[in-house]
Symmetry: C2
Subunit: 217 residues, 2 copies
Amino acid sequence: MTNEIGAWVFDAYGTLFDPLSVRAAAEAMFPGKGEALSRLWRARQLEYTWLRALMNRYADFWQVTRDALTFACRSLEIECEWIQQEELMQEYLRLEIYPDVRDGLNHLQGHPLVILSNGTPEMLEYVVAHNRLDRTFAAVLSVDKVKTYKPSPCVYQMAVEQLHLPPNQIGFVSSNYWDAVGATAFGYQTVWLNRSGAKPEELGVSPGSTVMALNQI
Amino acid sequence: MTNEIGAWVFDAYGTLFDPLSVRAAAEAMFPGKGEALSRLWRARQLEYTWLRALMNRYADFWQVTRDALTFACRSLEIECEWIQQEELMQEYLRLEIYPDVRDGLNHLQGHPLVILSNGTPEMLEYVVAHNRLDRTFAAVLSVDKVKTYKPSPCVYQMAVEQLHLPPNQIGFVSSNYWDAVGATAFGYQTVWLNRSGAKPEELGVSPGSTVMALNQI
């Protein structure tokens, strides 16, 4: 790292909390389709945030997550009753943390730790509390304040204002390559947390560094 | 249609020209992988336009298309030599039109016909000429003028200025659901050309109407 890091900022979904941990509930509900449903649900959830941000048609992440689930069920020809959809949505408030998260966060406790997420304040509050991380973070920042989505620079600007630090003194961690790229383009010092050994994308900008687990930072 | 249509505006890639028509060349080059390569190439091409537009990091569609091909090969572990990549890129200038296009456009010739596309002016010029449609269109509009991508409202505004028509007198046709939605949100009268029988997405806005072939408009 070229500059002193003043705080660590983390993406939530896909980085701390595993969106695919809904697959067990989905599989129990729709045997043989849990994996496909959870993957398509997540893929459309992200696509819809990008498209709505570009159209200037913000709807909050709870709505977008519900819309993505509706589409994923329709696309996979799964008949999902209202009550089943509600149950799957509730799963989003109980997402599991990845196995390396607790250790990794402890390791970085010398700095203020902050979440910067597409999620609504309520969604984030629940999932943080569910995983007993209430006291870990100095702040939990939601895009809902600026009514757009990552990787819009408006989102990354939120942590600058919250922390009173210039972008190059903010360390940012995301497992979503495009999010790490957006944060790099904004000026953060970035770490791509590549647990799955995914191939880097081609977006003209690269994350500052890459690790395989959170405690390697 | 509620208002008189003053002109018809068409999306290019996926609507008039088939991006998956590269699959034959890809298959000849990398046997058994042509289908997967052409699909992943197209998927990332779109994603990269959305992400770059959101990051305010515009690169033109030729660059984005090349980047998407680079990633698709990497992801599928295809060793694509420089000259092979050049050959596949050239295929993008020779995309085939869908079988219903010529008839469908003839059917609408009473109005000015316009292309409004993510493609660069050069890419569009080549693919239009390759398909002998040079004399069909009153104008071919490229996002390169406004340096962003669909579904940004700035893109749809271009046809309003070119045609001197209010949005609700512009008929817009796209096979890309999200593009039809973006155009609807902007105020065009829109038609989703759903040749493949795809399921509608959930983006909070719906296209004005849906047809299965261009000559059904």
